[in-house]
């Protein structure tokens, strides 16, 4: 099964108090040098069948009509590649 990731972020012009709260807290915790923080959502979709262009187009549509509210949010869709593991 393939994994498709949809990232949804508030549009840049919309105030993001969650991101701001994180950013404000960082210096207190001893983390300097972060100029801005934005917080968004990440959806991991496990897709049955092949992730071809048609499937991606459907997921794009799903993101546009459902996963994101495009009045306030932007989104990206991509097939997952592994990243540096955390904890």
């Amino acid at each position: 099964m393939a994994r498709v990731v949809v990232d949804v972020m508030l549009k840049p012009e919309i105030l993001d108090p969650q991101g701001q709260a994180v950013q404000r807290a960082l210096p207190r915790l001893g983390f300097e040098g972060i100029a801005d923080v934005r917080q968004g959502k990440r959806f991991e979709l496990e897709v049955e069948g092949p992730v071809d262009d048609a499937a991606l187009a459907r997921i794009h549509e799903m993101a546009e009509t459902f996963l994101a509210n495009t009045v306030i949010e932007d989104f990206t869709v991509r097939v997952d590649e592994p990243a540096e593991a955390g904890s």
């Binding site: 012009e13 105030l15 108090p17 969650q18 459902f66 509210n69 009045v71």
Partner: protein
């Protein structure tokens, strides 16, 4: 024959029973509507009550917006049927784009429950004719995703067309832009607001004020005169 006001229950709706009570206190007949039924049972108007439909998961109102009952509500609202969205109901209405803008997390990030003072800016909608323009009322407010946002063009349009229905007074509780607590569509039949008029219809309960009753007597008046 008295007016029939439908009150929709989505999974996770909380204030449906209170809203039905408020409708009855105002003298109308409350008709429960279920999210899976497209049939509106010939009601004259519909209220989308508050709560956490679908747990507010994804975004408040985002999942309910796709329920069968909303298909009919959207269609009928466009045809002029009065619709009131309270809190979560307002969020559903913005998700359907019956009302512009969107609701985001409160600027202080907390749920807030308090008695909130408002000014009625537009006393000509289907749901506000029993108030006077500029009237100040206090009704309960309770939400975590209550910050109303839209782009400047939308705001300018709302203001120019007199579609800001309610504004917060004595302190903006959630960072809503331009202190907006509620808005109406162009025709004035669809109204949404974050605070809860249905919790302020009996002298003893809640804050002990009945400032919210006017929403329900307004619609009665409107329907009877129609």
């Amino acid at each position: 024959m008295t007016a029939r006001i439908g009150v929709i229950t989505f999974p996770g709706t909380l204030d449906d029973r209170d809203t039905q009570r408020a409708v009855r206190v105002a003298g109308a007949e409350a008709v429960p509507l279920w999210h899976r039924d497209k049939d509106l049972k010939q009601v004259d108007a519909v209220v989308l009550p508050g709560g956490f439909s679908y747990g507010d998961y994804l975004r408040a109102g985002a999942i309910s917006r796709f329920s069968p009952v909303m298909e009919t509500v959207i269609e009928q609202a466009k045809a002029g049927m009065p619709v009131l969205g309270i809190c979560n109901g307002f969020q559903v209405l913005t998700e359907t784009h019956l009302l512009p803008g969107a609701m985001l997390r409160n600027n202080h990030l907390h749920f807030i429950c308090r008695d909130q003072k408002l000014r009625v800016e537009n006393a000509e909608t289907s749901w506000t004719v029993d108030y006077t323009s500029g009237q100040e009322i206090s009704i309960p407010l309770k939400n975590i995703d209550g910050r109303y946002v839209a782009d400047d063009r939308t705001f300018d349009m709302l203001e120019a067309e007199g579609r800001v229905a309610f504004r917060y007074l004595d302190g903006n509780p959630n960072g809503s832009l331009r202190d907006i607590a509620g808005i109406t569509n162009e025709a004035g039949n669809v109204v949404g607001l974050m605070p809860h008029p249905e919790h302020a219809v009996e002298p003893l309960i809640g804050t002990g004020r009945t400032d919210g009753l006017g929403f329900f007597t307004s619609i009665l008046k409107k329907l009877v005169n129609a």
